[in-house]
Symmetry: C2
Subunit: 769 residues, 2 copies
């Protein structure tokens, strides 16, 4: 019997690296089918207007045009993630609500014909007054985007736990601050595209970059009024999701309609600009944080109010209204807390769930802790440790935290970053900052039944693993294969993976909300274990051993403690086949959570089965003349339960820090004309971090071995992504000696903060510099 060696925890290279690096990976926009048509969407030039008529006759008459669709020839299906957030007609019929909303679409033999045909569609609009920020939208006389939502309040999340006012009253120190940030963009590498192919058996094949094939299929089946097993979302390579590809988009509905109408395959590819306007954006937000603490820095009460600019429709935005609060209440002990989150409709593109929930929210809470620590004369690190969540505790809204090594994350990243040597001792305009956060793991949003997996064997001992989990860039395909290979004693190369495809794979919630490893991984673990049980049963007879003594390793079945007693796995499979037993393992896993209908507006009970925790420390230098920030170093640490594949975990940490920190916190913001037109939908004007912008980073993996995660694993990377922004805001504030409360930390905002400081202190220097 060979030396015990586990795949779990090994640095297994990604299966998709080569295809992606060599350009061979086929993304949706690369798909070409015989007879495929090209599609183009006609978009609204108005932020708010009544549609009086849509005349598609000229477009239809253009040679080469095969189908034209608009709200005029659909049933007016309304879409929303939850029953009570269905506010968007996938093709508008009466009204458009933002510049760029799709109004009609054409499928034609070539893209040029489709473009020309789209320009021939005549839409008669009656412009309506519009609102472009939450204050205008909530004004008493504001035009309403949706008549059934007075004050343009899309959703109001109101949470209260404990005696908040008593908490403030008993506090030694109470402070209220306001933090703001404009909209940001997901800016996935791959612009959105969709391909639809109507098949002879009455089913419809679809490809699109997405985070949840089974959810997409379900939503589209509802919208198209087709049985779910006839709407087949296929696998393709996906260039990022980040929360922005979770719900159904009008574009995939439109592509499906065009293909059904023309009875031909249809491809729709968004331009980069369309990807910014017509998919989703991060919410602009205005957050007021009031915190009371005792003299030792322990938080006694907190009250947060947040106004989020949601754009024209709900999408997954209502979830994004709760999530920053939930992350925050998981991360810190809070005897009493109140939250009012308002997501407000405006005549702008739609805000959705975003990987880095709440720049002005999470950063506000953390930066305020820094300020109050200073006011109390405490090290912010020490203050974090005093408030840090511990395993075995329950959150204010009732989630039991079964594993948590947040304090270790803080301590270990502080040690690596040299926090105690540096904090308060750095020269002028040189600062250090700390962010912490927590994220749900196995958060079953909007789908029943969790994830299921199937594994089947061939007579040569190879297996095929069938899982609905999608890999949209984070390496889920590796994760699935690694778990199955570990259980079965196979080499990962022995396992062929069918993932994502909704025809072949069983139910799965999707690779968003930190579910893939926990939910999908556990389903694979159960399926592989089920198969192994059958294999052991077969081998036990031949090896004259008890199944409990058998070990699967190195493509063989061994008897523990009797290294000479072994059978190749392939031989066991063939023995079973000769008896007519085809080994097929199956597994089904769903998080143990409270499925309460109203959890969105007022969450209660177990939100998620477990939670990850992270702490990021950043060190920066600020140029006081230009306001430019130079990120010297970032230390990224997270309790990810168990690092199944440290290489992927580190990739997630670093990607998260770049997205949430050096890109999101330092650069990104969407700008708008006063007519609601996005000024910077493209790469030239909207700034994201490029490789040269990525700062030096160090990773600290903290393992807590979660009792229900697969091999102890929880999500990896989100808690880093969500703490990186805070660390940078804290570091810049620490560097200049004045808290910066408007994000992102572009030079103008840094200079503005320096000016505020000067206005407050005059020539007396005030804080650190």
């Amino acid at each position: 019997m060979p030396v015990e060696q586990s795949l779990i925890g090994s640095r297994m290279p990604r299966v998709d690296s080569e295809a992606k690096a060599t350009g061979r990976a086929i993304f949706t926009g690369d798909i070409s089918l015989p007879g495929m048509l090209q599609a183009k969407v006609l978009r609204s030039p108005y932020a708010h207007a009544r549609i009086k008529s849509i005349d598609t006759q000229k477009a239809e008459a253009l040679p080469g045009v095969r189908a034209v669709v608009s709200g005029m020839n659909t049933a007016g299906v309304k879409w929303g993630v939850f029953r009570y957030t269905r506010d968007q007609k996938l093709l508008p019929q009466e009204r458009v609500r933002y510049v760029g909303e799709g109004v009609a679409a054409v499928a034609a033999d070539t893209l040029e014909i489709a473009q020309e045909a789209a320009s021939l569609i005549k839409v008669d609009y009656e412009p309506l007054p519009a609102v472009f920020n939450v204050w205008d939208a909530m004004a008493p006389d504001a035009p309403l985007l949706h008549e059934d939502h007075p004050g343009n309040i899309n959703v109001h999340v109101a949470i209260e736990a404990g005696e908040v006012e008593e908490g403030f009253a008993g506090s030694y120190l109470v402070r209220e601050d306001t933090f703001t940030a404009p909209e940001d963009s997901y800016f996935m590498t791959e612009p959105y595209a969709a391909v639809a192919n109507p098949r002879q058996d009455g089913s419809l094949e679809l490809w699109m970059p997405n985070a949840a094939p089974h959810q997409k299929a379900k939503a589209l089946a509802n919208a198209l009024k087709m049985p779910l097993n006839k709407v087949i979302v296929r696998k393709s390579y996906i260039g990022g999701a980040f929360g922005g590809r979770s719900d159904v988009f009008p574009a995939e509905f439109i592509t499906a309609l065009l293909s059904l109408e023309s009875d031909r395959p249809v491809r729709l590819c968004f331009t980069r600009e369309e990807n910014s306007l017509a998919t989703r954006k991060g919410h602009g937000m205005y957050t007021i944080v009031k915190t009371g603490m005792d003299k030792q820095g322990r938080v006694l009460a907190r009250d947060v109010t947040c106004y989020m600019d949601g754009g024209a429709y709900s999408s997954t935005g209502p979830i994004a209204t709760s999530v920053p609060f939930l992350c925050h209440e998981q991360c810190y002990r809070l005897p009493a807390v109140r939250y009012n989150g308002y997501r407000v409709y405006t005549n702008k593109p739609i805000g959705g769930m975003y990987r880095v929930h709440g720049r002005a929210w999470a950063t506000g809470v953390d930066l305020q802790l820094d300020i109050m620590a200073e006011e109390l004369g405490l090290d912010p690190l020490e203050l974090r440790l005093r408030n840090a969540r511990q395993a075995g505790e329950t959150t204010p809204t009732g989630s039991y935290v079964q594993s948590c090594r947040l304090s270790q994350c803080i301590e270990q990243s502080a040690e690596k970053a040299g926090w105690r040597e540096k904090y308060g001792k750095l020269p002028a305009y040189h600062g250090i900052g700390l962010g912490t956060n927590s994220v749900q793991t196995g958060f079953p949003l909007g789908i029943r039944g969790g994830s299921a997996a199937i594994i089947k064997f061939n007579e040569d001992g190879g297996a095929t693993l069938i899982s609905g989990v999608v890999d949209n860039g984070q390496g889920n395909d590796n994760m699935l294969v690694q778990i199955a290979a570990e259980i079965l004693g196979l080499d990962p190369r022995d396992i062929q993976l069918i993932s994502a495809d909704t025809e072949a794979t069983p139910n799965d919630p999707g690779a968003y909300s930190m579910q893939a490893t926990f939910t999908g991984g556990n389903a694979v673990l159960l399926a592989a274990t089920d198969a192994r049980d059958q294999i052991f049963e077969e081998a036990a007879q031949a090896l004259e051993a008890h199944t409990r003594d058998l070990v699967a390793k190195d493509r063989s079945i061994y008897v523990a403690g009797a290294p000479d007693k072994a059978l190749p796995l392939a031989k066991v499979i063939r023995m079973a086949l000769l008896k007519g037993n085809n080994i097929i393992g199956r597994g089904s896993f769903a998080s143990k959570v409270d499925h309460r209908r109203e959890w969105l507006k007022n969450p209660q009970g177990q939100l998620s089965e477990t939670f990850s925790f992270g702490a990021t420390i950043a060190e920066v230098k600020v140029d006081p003349e230009t306001g430019e920030v130079d990120i010297l170093n970032m230390v990224l640490s997270q309790d990810c339960g168990k690092a199944l594949n440290p290489m992927l975990v580190e990739g997630q940490f670093e990607g998260g820090a770049v997205m949430g920190g050096s890109s999101g916190m330092m650069k990104e913001e969407h700008l708008w004309t006063k007519e609601g037109l996005c000024l910077n939908p493209g790469f030239l004007d909207y700034k994201v971090a490029l490789p040269l912008d990525v700062p030096p980073m160090e990773n600290v993996i903290v393992e807590s071995i979660d009792p229900t995660g697969p091999f102890g694993a929880k999500e990896a990377g989100m808690s880093v992504a969500m703490s990186a922004a805070q660390a940078l805001a804290g570091a810049v504030s620490n560097a200049i000696g004045w808290p910066v409360m408007e994000y992102p930390l572009t030079p103008d905002r840094v200079l503005n903060a320096l000016a505020q400081k000067k206005a407050a202190y005059g020539d007396s220097k005030g804080g650190k510099p």
Copy 2:
């Protein structure tokens, strides 16, 4: 609770009819992939030659050529269905053995370039002496095709059961006759094509018309030295198989090699002529039948010797050497029997398993019974009944026959055809004939493990059925869905089917050797029952009933006897999902047979789990001037166990009768030049029955409700196909009063028989006319 109504036995229209009738069905030759290359095979002009060298340089240098393969750059993999029949290098290296054998192949940007490049390949041949018939091949000084097979005997099947010589000695009447037939063709509607696509994950996708995707994948994985789970045979529409698409062909190996070499998708489409030369053909055969019977017409002993012209390689031909004997020993009681079957190598295209096994074999046995009945003064019908197999008996080689209604088939078809009113009473040149046969059902050739199936459910109550069974024209897709729908109380439209695809589907032996309904259908039955058990478990709690009292019907679960207590199936699925249970049913089924290595050469024990039985009666008029035969009517009857879908069963009966009878018996024969070139590889010169050639036919379905067939079903159509030829030979012989022992019954052969009769009897009329 609704009225009890079963899908089983209902006339369910075929799911593929519309696609096929409208031309929308995508066959392999229709597949187009981005960047796909076109392939062309260079074929040997010699029937037998040594390959001295192959120079591909000029072809490789032609612009647009992406890959060239020949035996020079393959490892010389030898292929054969069984370990001891591996005699064919998929690309020859030293020798070619028939005109048309593929020697090299090219993949290029266009077919024109591929053709030109193929013509630029220079093969230096040294011609060798060749043999074109079994007598020349078995001659002592004949050139050997395979040095390890003296006398060019590919396989010698030698079976002996009972005391044969004693049987003859004790017989009242003994007769020996010789029957001959040349090669015939499958002539599938769809010419062979193959598409190969190398994927980024190291797997290879393949499409080709085939009868057994999992067998193809296994064979190609062996030949290409790839893991089985990386060789993925996909589903496509298939235009017929008839036994001729069961084993691996050089062409799919070549297409795979070209695609791996070029790293591009490659398509190879055969011309109609290539389809005749380079796939498979039916064996030419020479059969000597000696039968002894008592005065009452009971057969006491039989000795059959058959020489089969096998062509250059084994393929599935060795199986075809046994099968006619096995069918015959199942059909008739035989106290003592001997069989010597010789499959002989010749320098002609390869003979394979053919749906209508043995024109000169089965027809010989049946026609001899007619002759002997006449000699005994018995009605041939009566003689058949006296010798007909009965349920509960065991065949000479040891197969127990668990269900058999052969006598009823004979009686019922005789009644419908008016046999007793007509036999011996028809006017001159007007005749009636009877054929009977039996076929194995669930005959597990060359693959382990039988068939497995998986069924999974969606929350809307729809299901997806996953089965490796392929539909190559007979309607298997319907059969699979029908069985699952019946068990689950669903409408067939509620079930999406994934079949054939070897990546997504579990193991299956293939749709040949009468396995699909029995083996694949039983696997589906078990998988659906497994799912139903889970559904009943879930519903029982909610309905407060025992699972044993539940009934699945009309998309609902009912409590038997309490029609008001019911739950929609979709609701039960959702209840299960809320608990994290994804309903996934699985089933695995393999025939209970003796897996003996040498069964091919000397079968023993249970050959097949059950057997079908058929009887066909034909009525003809012969024009004595021209020899033309006019088929007036055919009555087709078979014990198919249970007719799951009578419409499909009738289709199989009629298709079988056309193929085996009006086409195969009356028209078809391949002709050859003395250099071994096939003279009639195309539709113009090789005659198959056209719609106008199809005679009036009547179907008699006899059900025996087999104890292990799914819902009692056995194979449908083969026993008709295999008895139709005998019925026609009997009818023509009866019409002219002289047995015709050379087939097919073309006018020249009929006139020849009339001339023989005249030579024998002179002007005295002899027999009937």
